[in-house]
């Protein structure tokens, strides 16, 4: 296993993160997020590096990250589509729209397209219920979805 190296900018960001908390351990989620933002996944090497920063074992880092749904240990697409299927979205037809999206991308829910461009996931409530049905693509929320709008959004991403 090769050693994980944080970039100079990342080291600066990490120092700023540590300054927010009286104890190092609180930087766990921020560091995982920082790594994933750069690499799209949290690799075993990164877990070791984060463990070193926080004085905890890599196994503990893994136990924490496995608790949260937003961290990935396996490669995901360039665009992560989180499709809300919770109650307000369901009432507004999200099940059919999710099916449509999967068909459009030619994958099953939970899978990544062959060109590694899109990953499609079912997601629980994203707190945008008044815009239901909605989905989140990377950091952007898209509400009031229709089949047509979904097609437009997907086609517009390159």
């Amino acid at each position: 296993m090769s050693e994980y190296k944080f970039s100079e900018d990342q080291e600066k960001e990490i120092a700023a993160i540590f300054a927010k908390y009286p104890v190092k351990a609180s930087a766990m989620l921020p560091l995982l997020t920082l790594v994933q933002r750069a690499d799209q996944v949290v690799s075993p090497e990164a877990m070791v590096a984060i463990g070193k920063k926080l004085d905890v074992s890599p196994a503990y880092v893994q136990s924490v990250l496995s608790f949260y749904t937003m961290y990935h240990t396996e490669k995901v697409g360039k665009y992560m589509i989180l499709f809300c299927i919770n109650i307000s979205c369901q009432l507004n037809g999200s099940d059919k729209l999710l099916e449509h999206t999967a068909k459009k991308l030619n994958i099953k829910v939970g899978e990544t397209t062959f060109d590694e461009k899109f990953t499609l996931h079912r997601e629980e409530c994203l707190a945008a219920c008044t815009e239901a049905p909605m989905m989140r693509v990377n950091d952007t929320y898209y509400g009031n979805l229709t089949e047509q709008r979904i097609d437009q959004i997907i086609d517009s991403l390159d």
């Binding site: 995982l32 307000s88 507004n92 409530c125 945008a128 219920c129 989140r136």
Partner: protein, 416 residues
């Protein structure tokens, strides 16, 4: 209708210090700093403000429970908004971040706190950038940092992002997550006011709750308490979603009839269908049938009707839906979000899912309903946190009010 939190919500540039101050923002600080911290706690107590996150606990009382003379103390703003149906905090964070900061400064001054965290759900990353910018502006203005406005009072506030876990909205799970661990709930007592973040006395308040505080300090407890009902004071943000024509966040005076929210503010049922059911306080509270639609929207009236005000998320369901479908979706949510720490919740949510799924596959039997109720009885109040109870709510209430929807499936037993 009285607008306290949403008065200027759609003003352009409200998220900037300049516009926020032009509209009277941060005026409450001088007023507060002229008083002793305890006086602010008393004012908030007298206002009757109750926690807007879900439990409805009196805010001033919560502040007064902090362990005496133990420092440092912490403030955690719960911005983990994840209760299905709820999206009011997101609108506040997006459009009016300074209101929250002002509220947090007041709370910190009142409770002698020098560090505050805003715990935001991981999916709110874009909102955290907006909030970081607003915090930066507040620091530049001297509203945060050392010796604020020459009073000797120090405070800094930071954002902290979660990473996708509904349970982190539960306050003790939130603390574990903020400390860098798995977001599993803690045993209570000790309550956070005694041993919270880093085992120090901690106040945890919802975004909306803290956003109300500047108004109370500016206008006085009496003014705030003049709105609402005898026991449910003030106004409430309600996220109306589901089968309505105009879904949205609306600010109402406590005690406004639920029908006013559905038929007037939210424009009525879409396609002019008939109302079948509504969930008044987010997915964790019992649903009610259409004939309860005139129930006043306040803590006591909704409790008397057999449900709760919860987080203020009104989910409207029309008569095109079989409630069993909706119930299964909610159980599926709780099954997914159960952290697995307590057996009744971890196993119970799964069993409920499996049984209701079987019913929907036309493989059910009448006894299944009794079985569901039995499992619910073994989940209620038997876990560390209320997630198990939250899963029970839609099941028990759907059986109580919409038993015939279950029976529809029994008619088709054997039909695939």
């Amino acid at each position: 209708m009285t607008q306290i939190l949403f008065k200027d919500i759609n003003k352009e540039g409200l998220h900037t210090m300049k516009v926020y101050e032009e509209l009277g923002g941060y005026q409450s600080l001088k007023k507060a700093f002229a008083q002793k911290p305890d006086e602010i706690v008393e004012t908030v107590k007298a206002s009757g403000l109750r926690g807007r996150g879900g439990a409805g606990f009196p805010t001033g009382l919560k502040w007064s429970f902090l362990a005496k003379d133990v420092f440092p103390r912490y403030l955690c703003c719960n911005a983990d908004e994840s209760e299905p149906g709820t999206c009011k905090d997101r609108e506040l964070l997006l459009k009016n971040p300074h209101l929250l900061i002002e509220g947090m400064i007041l709370c910190s001054y009142a409770c002698r706190i020098e560090t505050g965290y805003i715990y935001m759900r991981g999916e709110f990353q874009d909102l955290s950038f907006i909030m970081d910018k607003a915090l930066e502006e507040a620091r530049a203005k001297g509203y945060l940092g050392k010796n604020i406005l020459g009073t000797g009072f120090n405070l800094d506030i930071y954002t902290h992002l979660g990473a996708g876990a509904y349970i982190c909205g539960e306050e003790s799970a939130l603390l574990n997550s903020l400390e860098g661990g798995r977001g599993e709930p803690r045993m209570k007592p000790p309550f956070p006011a005694v041993e919270g973040l880093y085992s120090k006395p901690t106040v945890i308040n919802n975004v909306e709750t803290l956003c109300v505080v500047p108004y109370i300090v500016n206008e006085g407890a009496e003014k705030y308490a003049s709105f609402g009902t005898e026991k449910s004071k003030g106004t409430k943000l309600v996220s109306v979603s589901g089968h309505v024509k105009k879904p949205g966040n609306y600010e109402i005076e406590m005690g406004t009839p639920t029908s006013e929210l559905i038929y007037n503010l939210a424009g009525g049922i879409r396609n002019d269908n008939k109302l079948k059911a509504f969930i008044p306080g987010g997915s964790s509270v019992p649903m009610l049938p259409a004939d309860k639609v005139d129930t006043p929207y306040d803590y006591e009236s909704l409790a008397a009707a057999g449900t709760m005000l919860g987080s203020g998320a009104l989910i409207v369901i029309d008569d095109s839906v079989n409630i069993v479908e909706t119930t299964l979706r909610l159980i599926s949510f709780y099954m997914h979000e159960s952290c697995g720490k307590c057996t009744p919740c971890r196993e119970g949510t799964r069993w409920l899912y499996q049984i209701v799924e079987r019913i929907m596959q036309n493989k059910g039997q009448l006894e299944y309903i009794e079985k569901l109720e039995d499992i619910c009885g073994n989940m209620s109040f038997k876990a560390f946190c209320p997630l198990a109870d939250a899963c029970v709510a839609p099941v028990v209430s759907s059986i109580k009010h919409f038993r015939s929807d279950y029976e529809e499936y029994f008619k088709n037993v054997g039909v695939s």
